[in-house]
Symmetry: C2
Subunit: 232 residues, 2 copies
């Protein structure tokens, strides 16, 4: 399947015209021509199948053959994470959680956060590229950065906070889904502050442990999501 992505494509599109940059990619890099079958998704479950019918003014045009709407089959994992200092590590994480197929990621600003700004547009591009590569129809939502305090306000018992402190915690691998939504919170290098942990517990989040190891932030985020999705 030759999968492309467009935010705006809908089931009702009879034709689709690629922009010049994607058209160049299709004709020059992939070396595809009239007659090639392609698929386009909007990242919200749509699978739009078409065939290239013309190349006009350096733009590739495809005509619809069929379309279907996939339903989201998994439970919803939402990752809220303090972005690591290195941009590369955040970009790597975006690629991996897209392959895994979680529902959303929200960068959170914590007491000990070292990275306070993220490049959302760049992260979305990386997610789209991973979505195409891993042939999926659902793009994780990449939210703007919010403060830890704001994030924990409305998640209540759907929230899990993975911290390294010594308080009583459940092993994430033993967690049982209570609904079809779960929010996993991963702190910055140096962990959540004691106040944050206290606030999370007051807000009814459950403290969880990923095991004995000391993981990097982005490793904890990926492996935590993997564990949650195994248990659905």
């Amino acid at each position: 399947m030759l999968l492309f992505f467009d935010f705006d494509i809908g089931e009702n599109f009879q034709d689709f015209t690629f922009d010049k940059s994607e058209s160049r990619h299709i004709t020059k890099v992939l070396r595809k021509n009239i007659g090639t079958e392609i698929t386009i998704t909007n990242g919200k479950g749509l699978e739009w199948n078409g065939v290239i019918t013309s190349i006009l003014n350096q733009k590739v045009v495809a005509r619809k053959i069929s379309s279907l709407k996939h339903s989201y089959k998994k439970k919803h994992v939402h990752l809220a994470i303090a972005p690591p200092k290195s941009n590369d590590r955040m970009e790597w994480l975006i690629e991996k959680i897209t392959e895994l197929g979680i529902s959303s990621i929200t960068p959170i600003l914590c007491d000990r956060s070292e990275r306070k700004i993220i490049k959302k547009e760049r992260l979305i591009k990386i997610a789209i590229s991973a979505l195409k590569q891993s042939q999926q129809f659902f793009l994780p939502e990449i939210n703007p950065m919010v403060t830890f305090k704001k994030y924990i306000k409305n998640i209540s018992h759907h929230g899990l906070i993975a911290h390294c402190g010594k308080s009583s915690k459940i092993e994430l691998k033993n967690y049982s889904w209570e609904s079809d939504q779960v929010h996993l919170l991963i702190g910055p290098e140096g962990d959540f502050s004691l106040n944050e942990i206290k606030d999370a517990i007051s807000a009814k989040l459950k403290p969880v442990s990923l095991g004995q190891q000391r993981f990097r932030t982005e490793t904890a985020g990926l492996l935590g999501c993997n564990i949650l999705l195994l248990k659905e």
Copy 2:
């Protein structure tokens, strides 16, 4: 814990002299001085605790306070994987499996392998750096590259082959450990060849599936090891 690494250190060492490069790191970057407590491991379970007693000829010297030998608490996961085309992705994988704490990784040469050479020394350096960062005492063994055929010769029913073909497979998350050793085989981009899958099944390896998603090689390697270690 300020953790350092040396292949040769043993329990019987009363003093340890760091080389010039590590000594410069300790004094100039970490800004440590006489009296600082440090820990050194050999990656085989040793925890050698000492204190910096002198800095002579630009070399930091530490004297032993105590030592202990950790025993390996997990079951042994051995990852055999066709290295991805991009070196960065292989290096990333080495970092992550070291954080996770698997026993060994072996690059395998498959029918469809695109990368046929690896830089073993560089990968060992990355593993040591991840070991220090994640404060562990066991370094995964990084083996030289071998052919797929050679690797599957002696692992028999301890071997699991994760392929994307349509034959009958067990879900990795439902796998039950039969001994304390398991070898997980992950193929190159484009999967194992049909011959390889046939040979693996003849050699009594079990075909396994990581789920519905199409993962990149290095993602499949990491998530597969994570799943196996959850089940021990």
